[in-house]
């Protein structure tokens, strides 16, 4: 299984764009890249998923370079309510979701 590496924490201010990068050097051909968000006292929540290039939904964008060895979650114009832990996962045919320690994003006024 591809192991992921992401920053332990990041700080931002309201209204800014936040980019969280995840490294997954050993990603396999069949693996997808998925990001989850977790608020205190709640289970993780799916944000976005991609295989290559760029994916965008109403919440975030996911940028994946051609070699797929990293990915960047982009959150446009963050607000205080975006303060959470963000997890990058790589999974494929095994459907095995392995979480790392995640990135704690702290958004300040």
């Amino acid at each position: 299984l591809a192991k992921t590496t992401q920053p332990i924490s990041m700080d931002s201010y309201e209204g800014q764009e936040v980019n969280i990068t995840c490294s997954h050097n050993n990603i396999a051909t069949n693996d997808y890249i998925t990001w989850y968000q977790q608020f205190p006292s709640q289970g993780p929540r799916f944000i976005i998923q991609g295989y290559k290039t760029k994916v965008t939904n109403e919440v975030a964008s996911l940028f994946i370079p051609a070699d797929r060895k990293s990915s960047t979650l982009s959150l446009p114009r963050v607000s205080l309510s975006d303060t959470a832990v963000y997890y990058c996962l790589v999974s494929g045919a095994t459907n095995k979701l392995i979480f790392g320690t995640g990135t704690l994003l702290a958004v300040q006024p």
Binding site: V85, T94, N95, T101
Partner: protein, 118 residues
């Protein structure tokens, strides 16, 4: 439609006592996961079911932990006897059958059961 439902939300027990957690996945989801999450860490996979079959239980401490998913729907996770180090949040998640040709799957999580062993 209700999401993944877990009960109880909180449980406090004395060490050496048994405890059980219950999970009702989203209707139609054949994959079910149990995770344990310690404070400040990411969820750790304990066991994964495909229907009623446990396809990955390599991280389940089998000397004291057990799980079942009868009829491939609801699932229970049991600890007997509980130890102080078992204090954590136990999360259940479910998803549709994994990995089709051109898409992956999204897992939906319950709110978890916070276990405190004293």
């Amino acid at each position: 439609e209700a999401g993944v439902v877990q009960s109880p939300r909180y449980k406090i027990i004395e060490k050496k006592q048994p405890v059980a957690f219950w999970c009702n996945p989203i209707s139609g989801h054949n994959t079910l996961y149990w995770y344990r999450q310690n404070l400040g860490q990411g969820p750790e996979l304990l066991i994964r079911y495909e229907n009623e079959e446990a396809v990955d239980d390599s991280q389940l401490p089998k000397d004291r932990f057990s799980a079942e998913r009868l009829k491939g729907v609801d699932s229970t996770l049991k600890i007997q006897p509980a130890e102080l180090g078992d204090s954590a949040v136990y999360l259940c998640a479910s998803s549709l059958e994994g990995w089709a040709q051109d898409t992956n799957t999204e897992a939906f999580f319950g709110q978890g059961t916070r276990l405190t062993v004293v």
